[in-house]
Amino acid sequence: MKVKMLSRNPDSYVRETKLDLQRVPRNYDPTLHPFEVPREYVRALNATKLERVFAKPFLASLDGHRDGVSCLAKHPKSLATVLSGACDGEASVTLNVRIWNLTKRKCIHMIQAHEGFVRGICTRFCGTSFFTVGDDKTVKQWKMDGPGYGEEEEPLHTILGKTVYTGIDHHWKEAVFATCGQQVDIWDEQRSSPICSMTWGFDSISSVKFNPIETFLLGSCASDRNIVLYDMRQATPLKKVILDMRTNTICWNPMEAFIFTAANEDYNLYTFDMRALDTPVMVHMDHVSAVLDVDYSPTGKDFVSASFDKSIRIFPVDKSRSREVYHTKRMQHVICVKWTSDSKYIMCGSDEMNIRLWKANASEKLGVLTSREKAATDYNQRLKEKFQHHPHIKRISRHRHLPKSIYSQIQEQRVMKEARRRKELNRIKHSKPGSVQRVSEKKKRVVAVVK
């Protein structure tokens, strides 16, 4: 007879002293872990609920401007520094450009840059100086550090123009910047007259943006409803697309050179592929009022949009609906928005003179995470992804509280949209088959592409 009984030595399963960690032997045999899927489902449900519980995105409000914040700029080298310009209409009483320190949440520097509106602000790629344009028909270059003790605040350069400039953007690698107004001007930093100026049509141009990858490409949008693309190396514009309504700003995708997103007056955002402008890649709709500004995250996977409906929304690039909406009671029409370079925060400047700082991921825990915390969040994230289509989990993760004004407008617009759809269907139904074509939502908005 040969016999062996299961006989464990307790010493190999119990810790020796109280200072040791407890021993936890593992066995991944599925029969020892029954109900794997239902338990994972419950964990995913709990994780989703906790995500909503901890979704507190608002971090800070920077106040100090005496008028609505009209433009924001990121510092290219320092994460904690941000520049803002205000629309101070009163002549030279108040200071209308400020530099902020985000970690201290304080204004570190103030400049009376222009008389009236500061229309645009941008930093030089090296972070030593910045440019402003204002309603007083000037372009000014300023030192980032400010004047030394006892010195007076003076711009490094001032360019006097003939017309009002409405926007400015700096080249990402060279000492070149572009302004827009009646025409798009490209300037060398050393000269007081533009290298070249380009026009196409006669309306005023509201913004101009350099492409961060193909650095000689520019995009601009004008109030005659078109978006024009330029190549800096040639004297004439490349091509333009005319939309149904006016585009307020565009923003280039920092990871995909040929993709840009346009913030439109018709409450939608359009993501275009510049190689094929006749249909947008994606129409992003969720706002209930004109979209005023848009900015990409550095990862190129999401972008944030600011709207006149007093909210900001975060959209994934490949989805037509937003994944997040931020609003507060006190935030008025949001004029400008920026996604910080570490892709963790969002800043928005609004009409009621404040700059607000938000988390890009609403339920993210800030600060240093221990490895166990990190593992737990990663695990929960994966579970949420795995069970995201289950109706109960989907309902919880999708739910957002909205202010009444936005909520009722959404309902109203849903009714309007349904009515339009019904009318179109009826039109197709009661006309000769084939004579009325159904036009897709994407194609509907593009009027023409001109080369």
């Binding site: 007879m1 040969k2 991944y28 045999d29």
Partner: protein, 611 residues
Amino acid sequence: METVPKPGSRVPPKKDKLQGKKKKPRRYWEEETTPTAAEASPGPPRKRKRNRELRPQKPKNTHSTKKSRISKKPQVPKKPRERRSPGPQRSLSGAQDPFAGPAPVPVEVVQKFCRIDKSKKLPRSETKIRSQLEAAEAQEEEISVKAARSELLLAEEPGFLEGEDGEDTAKICQADIVEAVDIASAAKHFDLNLRQFGPYRLNYSRTGRHLAFGGRRGHVAALDWVTKKLMCEINVMEAVRDIRFLHSEALLAVAQNCWLHIYDNQGIELHCIRRCDRITRLEFLPFHFLLATASETGFLTYLDVSVGKIVAALNARAGRLDVMTQNPYNGVIQLGHSNGTVSLWSPAMKEPLAKILCHRGGVRAVAVDSTGTHMATSGLDHQLKIFDLRGTFQPLSARTLPQGAGHLAFSQRGLLAAGMGDVVNIWAGQGKASPPSLEQPYLTHRLSGHVHGLQFCPFEDVLGVGHSGGITSMLVPGAAEPNFDGLESNPYRSRKQRQEWEVKALLEKVPAELICLDPRALAEVDVISLEQEKKERLERLGYDPDTKPPFQPKPKRKGRSSTASLVKRKRKVMDEEHRDRVRQSLEQQLQKQEKAKPVGARPSALDRFVR
């Protein structure tokens, strides 16, 4: 053209040619014979080897590499030289790894961890979703290989009992085993003589550390049976029908003559649940925190012990219920009835999920093994049958026993114990997932009284038997799973660990509605349910709520809505719909005709007569 070999460069490209002329630099401790031996080895020539080293080998597709990593057969130990020859990998120091690459894993072990059913086809879907599903499948496969590889790290080996040539293990009595094994194991065999309080029911806690038993005459006790430390001992002054630990050893449910009582480990009565009366059997579902009770009145009641609510009370409509067991794989409760059927229940359904006709005559005992694949039943017809629970519910094997088994229990490794009068028989199968073969018993034991309760102790090679003479703890080598999971049920856990585990377990309490026959259904793509839902709703309502209501013209204002015009408008819409229908049916007819027409056949003059 000759270059000086740099000390940093590993393989100078021209060295192959020079090898004949120039000797390789050797360390003093290397033997003279090593290079010649290397030359003589049956491996491929050096040049090719070097090529292989230099070129990073890129797998063509991931599937093939994964398959190649799993060896098809159980590993036969090879000679070291042979193993070295196919792909010698050199490290910087020049030493060779004799076991290059990841460790091979036997395919059966991988099968055990495999969570996807390869036989099922992926549903038809968009290419994007399809590729996502495929990627997920590939990932699952990789994970199962990894999990199988971690099997190497398990510390303990299962026990066994083998007779010498021709010796029947069933003839080996407990005293022999006790004599042969070590002292610690021998101490696990004991008898408690408790003749006074009549036949006993017993229950081990989930960690296998604690034992609770209750006698017919009201004796209830709980003890740490390994150290023999008594936790509590009381007499409830009432008949005890069944006893069961709740999620931890701190709580104890006792089915007494009238009502269900819950005691703590001090023997203090915490609750008396009067909504559960005249209970005969108790079962606890640990992941759902549900206490299932079967009563004399024919009700199966689910009590949620975490909140103290009755989740469901189901009328089995089969008279007195006194045979109950749970399927540990999916949490389904199985009831045995006096008409020979076994019914499967979940709290979400008022009707049984399935009914299996097992015996001619009443069912006396039911047991399900830990993988949920086999069910053993015994009936008044003295038969012992083993059923396959995976879909078909067909009997796999049957055997007539002289006395018939009154109690059945499965062990963690698939051993089946049956109590027949005062004898306990144990049958063993080939492995963990195979059914026990009923030809030859593995062990037998005669007790001092009639068996009244049986349970294998989890994680110990012990079978607890409650009988009219008390409690017997039998040694059954090879019954239990040798390696426990510390986070799931740890016999050696401290108080703190237990508390932490309790919080975690409560947080992930599975809702009672999720109990169904296939617990993995929640993770699968639900294809048919939409159609089925619609059909069911149609049946329930008696009409289709999605169909358009008949057109009702809106009354026009200012007296322009005459009855005639209303009727006219109605007529118009009806005609339009009628035309649509006719048009559609015509199109369908056309399509049918085109399909029916044989392609390429010549038209015949006789075609005109074809109808």
